[in-house]
Subunit: 123 residues, 2 copies
């Protein structure tokens, strides 16, 4: 099922968080599209968001060295018209202040996401 829609989460390797904290970031990242695109989920037309949510909800977690590379990826997504959202942790627990922890790309089809992320390593 190589052509099924997926959500790609790209994290910063330079942040040292507990596993539970990373799981919470994965949760935030998985909901960013919903906050911005609820209309696409309840649309009568078929959408990639509904196909993803009610399908396997494939999620891939990749890494970059730090914040600069995340911002670069965000710019590339904007340029390509691919939905991407900054995930910002409020910094109330482990982090000293609001921190851009990861980028949520999609959910979208691989032929749209892969040109932007295919060179990145698994986290």
């Amino acid at each position: 099922m190589e052509d099924e829609p997926k959500l790609v989460i790209v994290v910063r390797k330079d942040l040292n968080l507990r596993k539970g904290k990373w799981m919470a970031q994965g949760g935030h990242a998985s909901l960013m599209w919903l906050i911005n695109r609820l209309d696409r989920l309840i649309s009568l037309e078929p959408t990639v968001e509904a196909s993803w949510l009610y399908g396997r909800q494939k999620k891939i977690v990749l890494q970059v060295p730090g914040e600069a590379e995340l911002l670069e990826l965000l710019n590339q997504c904007h340029a390509a018209g691919v939905s991407a959202y900054k995930v910002v942790d409020a910094g109330l627990t482990e982090l000293p202040g609001p921190t851009f922890t990861c980028l949520a790309i999609g959910p979208d089809y691989p032929d749209r996401i892969d040109p932007i992320t295919k060179h990145l390593q698994l986290f």
Copy 2:
């Protein structure tokens, strides 16, 4: 903001997964309510789900020793009328087969969740 709604994710300490894999479980767990309760999100009445999603989306990750304790928690949630969902990883990558990796409880208010989870440790 002790009384704000939260999603509690309870994971099995006996599973040894990569951080990226745990993040994906956090993502699955954060979406279980949506698959089952989309009607509550688009309701014209105020709901705890909408309050959580459009608020801080507080997420707490706790742990138990293994699957037996997760099933016990699930039973307790059912008995108390608190929404809880099994998160099952398909087992296509790191795990040898479909695996009950964690339990998603809520989103709901602390006075409903805490009696069930307050004795558990952070993951």
